[in-house]
Subunit: 438 residues, 2 copies
């Protein structure tokens, strides 16, 4: 050990690849994360609809790095950084201790993004987000709780509000979520209820842009739109959510006419921004940030004037370029940063600029439906769905999870069932499980 | 439909079998439960140690009865009963509505038991119980959080308190739990940590009786004791817990000398009592209750003077006889009650008294270790463990869960790993994940 200390903040796709790329390198790596697991975020929406269990899309970080002896994992939030002292400030430790600092020689910030709620954090309790495992489990409890409420609600109008689901944002996550809720209502739980007809459920997908999946070419957006409609989703394009409350979502169209839709369940998947740490890092280094909070880094993914500080993933832009907030981007950047650190320590000349190799873009809409864009290729329908399945199985962490997910999906495909339809929040005796916390 | 309304309260082993036994009968069954799933409680402890996922030991009630068209499921707590009006009073519904009643022609109470905490409900926040899925998930977060805390705790004495686990009660659940925590610390997570030596973990198993597993013959108790010791568990027999706090558990011996053991994690599995509904049912019918709150029923499992009201499982005693609180007892009683209801409606003479067919008793202690008592047979070690595995797989609800659990166990056995080691409580920024709620 030469004792070169690398602190990596964030165990998402970017952070994980950085640490892996440092395997066997003469460094002491400390990986800091608020959670004890890596979340395979592209499948979090399947937890939210009971198709998969939490453990099938999340791998304990310590298990991932069990055999990489130069890695230490610390379960804490990074709350600040002292660039001159080269120290990261940690939040509350699992012991309850506060105020500890972590010295570094090289810092890698990979803290990702979160949803902005268009600046309305007060909407958050009524429309949880799909970025975290806790959020996905919360959404699962609410969706299943809404069906339960519809079953015992005698008033038709109120029942209809329990069977109305609003998904905000028609990017890949919003599209996948809306498709799955529609399938859940119209297919999976259809025969589970006696009084409520879950086929009457309405799933509204609200998007400010004039098409769904703006990251894809317009022709694939049109195919996705049609696939959503055939699943029973109502895409509302060119509309903006202007208010979210416990019993309704208000949606404005281009003329600013506002429609207050009675709906008891909303899911947020629109408008990303960076985490608090990104802002603190930018302030500490004097780096510029854009409107979405992304920190401007050099082509080598370092902060201006601070070659010892890297940042990557969807918390950065490289000069004027903001790459899409996708797992492959963060993973390639993680491997790049690992390479630069190794080269520097070995006295080799490291690569001077990161280049993204776009291998394509995939989104699934529901059973047997997906769209894919690979270079000049445009694929939709079953072939795209098969590709989506394959890619997601391959990139899942851990052989056991791959096999279990494959099995679960096979069961779901054959039986139209979903095994993990549990409401796991502690029983609330004096409060509805489907209601947001006070 | 002749409209005979059967209300079954509780979707545990007894309630589930009652409902199943009424399949195709000319009745309208309403199954009332606070949870939307049946918990396979004998495996809840495996969720608490990350060996299994919640969805693998819990089946959505609606999915279980999807094809049984005479069943309606209501997600609510039964808070009272009006014996004269023949109505069950429901607590808060998923809509938030309160005060609804459910009329019945026949009532079946199967509300089970909970832990009594020896009358000290104030200990509950510091020593969660293993009866519910929420409890098991809470325990999982605490055990994993305690290892995380030990990893960052510089003080040796404090670290030792984080690595001390107290399990209260050496019945099957307590024994299984203690064995699994010891295996987790000494084997599974051993290489996960860098600073903390988890092999130093102490697992104390406190039992008031002078042997473990008092439901078994003394020779098997001795074998179980030795198996526990070889796993690294310290059984403390003839001792009683007299206080539980956030940082210690106080244990008194026969001389009433009290030892305050610094321990940050405790699990409760001792001293069962019945739920509030059992007491209300006894009060409403004038039935006697014993010290553990069990309601005295007639040999036909009906309340005295109320042939239309059945009760079963570990909430009852039949005359002076309290059968062991085991799943097979409740299941046989459920089938018996279903049979009596069917016979009555068909004008046949129903059986007049329930008889328990004791097929044996099983408890596992850890990897390859178990004890079994089948009639005159006493088995321990690997054969008992293989039997335990087989029985638990067979009795799990649902083919998919059987296969998934079998796979998980095979992986765990081969790799010494546990796939579901997640801390899933929402991130608490200003509070330790391992600390009990205020």
């Amino acid at each position: 050990m030469n004792g070169h200390r690398v602190v990596v903040i964030g165990g998402g796709f970017g952070g994980l690849q950085t640490v892996r790329a440092l395997r066997g390198a003469p460094v002491e790596v400390t990986l800091v994360d608020r959670q004890n697991f890596h979340l395979f975020q592209p499948l979090a929406y399947q937890v939210a609809t009971g198709a998969l269990s939490a453990a099938e899309v999340a791998s304990p970080l310590r298990a991932v790095f069990k055999r990489q002896r130069n890695v230490e994992v610390v379960l804490a939030e990074a709350v600040g950084v002292d660039i001159d002292k080269r120290e990261v400030q940690l939040g509350v430790l699992p012991t309850g201790e506060e105020g500890r600092t972590l010295p570094y020689d090289t810092l890698v910030a990979a803290t990702g993004s979160r949803y902005s709620y268009f600046g309305h954090d007060d909407w958050r309790p009524f429309a949880p987000e799909l970025k975290s495992l806790a959020g996905a489990l919360d959404i699962r409890d609410r969706i299943l709780g809404a069906f339960e409420a519809a079953e015992v609600e005698p008033d038709a109008q109120r029942r209809s509000a329990w069977l109305t689901f609003v998904v905000v944002g028609a990017g890949p996550t919003g599209v996948e979520m809306a498709g799955q809720i529609a399938e859940l209502a119209r297919d999976t739980v259809r025969r589970d209820f006696r009084a409520a007809d879950t086929r009457q459920a309405r799933v509204l997908l609200v998007e400010t842009a004039d098409r769904v999946l703006t990251g894809f070419t317009p022709s694939l957006s049109r195919r996705a739109y049609k696939a959503l409609e055939s699943l029973g989703v109502t895409p509302l394009l060119g509309r903006t959510v202007v208010a979210v409350g416990p019993e309704s979502v208000s949606i404005a169209d281009a003329d600013e006419t506002v429609d207050e839709v009675p709906a008891r369940t909303a899911v947020w998947a629109a408008g990303v921004t960076t985490t608090g740490f990104a802002g603190r890092l930018a302030a500490a280094t004097g780096a510029a940030t854009d409107r979405a909070g992304r920190v401007t880094v050099d082509p080598q993914l370092t902060l201006p004037g601070h070659p010892e500080v890297f940042a990557l993933g969807d918390m950065i832009r490289i000069g004027d370029t903001a790459l899409p907030g996708l797992a492959p981007v963060a993973m390639q950047q993680g491997r790049f940063v690992g390479r630069v650190i190794r080269d520097r320590l070995a006295g080799r000349t490291p690569p001077t600029a990161f280049h993204y190799h776009d291998k394509g873009n995939l989104a699934t809409i529901g059973r047997s439906r997906a769209v894919a864009e690979i270079g000049p290729l445009r694929i939709s329908g079953f072939p795209a769905w098969a590709l989506w399945l394959g890619v997601h199985i391959v990139y899942l962490i851990g052989f056991q999870n791959r096999l279990l997910v494959l099995l679960r999906w096979s069961f779901s495909f054959l039986t139209h069932g979903r095994g993990a339809r549990l409401i796991t929040a502690p029983t609330q005796t004096h409060q509805s499980v489907a209601q947001p916390p006070p």
